[in-house]
Amino acid sequence: MMPVLGYWFGIAWLDAILRLAVIAGVMTVVVIFLTYAERKVIARVQQRLGPTRTGPAGLLQGVADALKLVLKEDLRPTTADRWVFELAPFMVFVPVFLTFVAVPFTRDLGVRFLSLGLFYIVAVSSLNIVGFIMAGWGSDNKYALLGGVRAAAQMISYEVPLVLTVLGVAMVASSLDIRVITERQDVVPYIVWQPLAFVVFIIAGLAEMNRTPFDIPVAESEVVGGPTVEYSGIRWSFFQLAEYSSLFVLSALGADLFLGGYIWPFGSNPPGWLQLILILVKTSFMILMIFWVRATFPRLRIDQLMSYCWKVLIPVTVAQLFFNGLVLVYRWPDILLLVFSGALLVGATAATAVAVRRAARRPRDAQAVRDRRLQYARGA
């Protein structure tokens, strides 16, 4: 949006406000149609038709939902902690809003191009955990509390592998500027050099967004929506807004970092419209993958989630980082990046699958396990 807006009147703060307004508008539209797309895609997976009533092919369903949410009564439980409860949705939403700022969509289209863009996104996106905790705690509801605690544990753990994967890409590109990273992929996208990083990025991203199979904090069948259980109307819609915008931002970021963004495979400087199409196609691809995963997978349990993060994801991403370092410092051929990363990816998946299978086959004294857990919890 650089060329569109320029520096309006040359006044910095007016310019900033305008940019924020643009983000807000784009985000709303994106979210409205993402919810529609998700319902439609999942419906097709389930051999249903999905929304068809509102507008042609149900296209306006998202708009109708948004209107409904805005018009609904905004309830607050009497025992809720008023300020914490009411501010929590914004605390969830604002960080996602802010990450939007640094994502370049094409070479010239973006809100701001920061030289520390990647670092900025990582730093800002970690903040919305606070919002979930506030919502979980402020609702004064046990489901919400359980969800809030789960959210905190999960998001803080998955922050680490997420950062480690983008760090791998940043190492290979030796820059933190997302535009630079993207444009270094004019020949080979980084998914080729860092397949492990890409997979872990999606996994950790799903966990960060609380989406299936990591939707443990908001698990509908267990904690009935978790932190959001007491919210209604416009406040609840902010959670929704945050979830789907982070889905969009993360997909766009993934497209930029791993799939060659708006550059690959059309040389170093395709025309503007082609750049836009490229980034949209790649982002949609990421989003569709995530929808597909959502329609397919069961949910993990919180302890499995945590041990998967700390015992599998973090070791392999750290190992990848280490190998990246070796390759880059000693200037080994690039192909070794792929070899190491791919080997780690295959090894990690195989090891996980074998571990699950073996644990499933091995008999176990169930009562003893449960007694031990209970004793451990009692601190006896």
């Binding site: 910095a12 703060w13 902690d81 914490v84 030289s115 520390l116 670092f119 900025y120 990582v122 730093a123 800002v124 970690s126 903040l127 955990i129 606070v130 905790i133 506030m134 979980g136 705690w137 509390l145 809030g148 605690v149 905190a152 544990a153 803080i156 922050e159 933190l176 451990y376 601190g379």
Partner: protein, 165 residues
Amino acid sequence: MSVEQWVFYVLAAIAVGGAAVTVFARDIVRAALGLIVALLMTAGVFVLLSAEVIGLVQLLVYGGAVAILILFALMITRAREVTYRLDGPQKPLALLAGATLAAAIGVAVVGTVFPTNTDHINPVGFVEMSTALFQTYAVPFEVASLVLLVALVGAIIIARQEERQ
């Protein structure tokens, strides 16, 4: 006043407010939330000073990680409203320590000569900082990280002790 000054005052006011909440709130989770507000506003001040890296680190480490851990711990213990006085026999000592710290900061602030011309700031780049941290001051940096390691080990030992009881 320039826009920057306005922004600064707003940030500072909110930061002080957050700090006040931290100190005076009777509800311990609210106190933690107040702390988060204060920390975030400090990050804003850093950014205002063109120290983006420090600002972002502040966000990531204090806002994103430390504060969350505090909140997490508090939520699990579920200690709500504190109804009794928290004063202990250490109160005079605490006052003394607080006063000393305040004096030190005050002296530092008064004693420093701040650059008055803010039109030319030389932001410390990421690369310079990295070089400083990992080459020039590599040893002190690593030593500092040892402290964290010790803290981790200590925490585990304390937790284990409680478990054994």
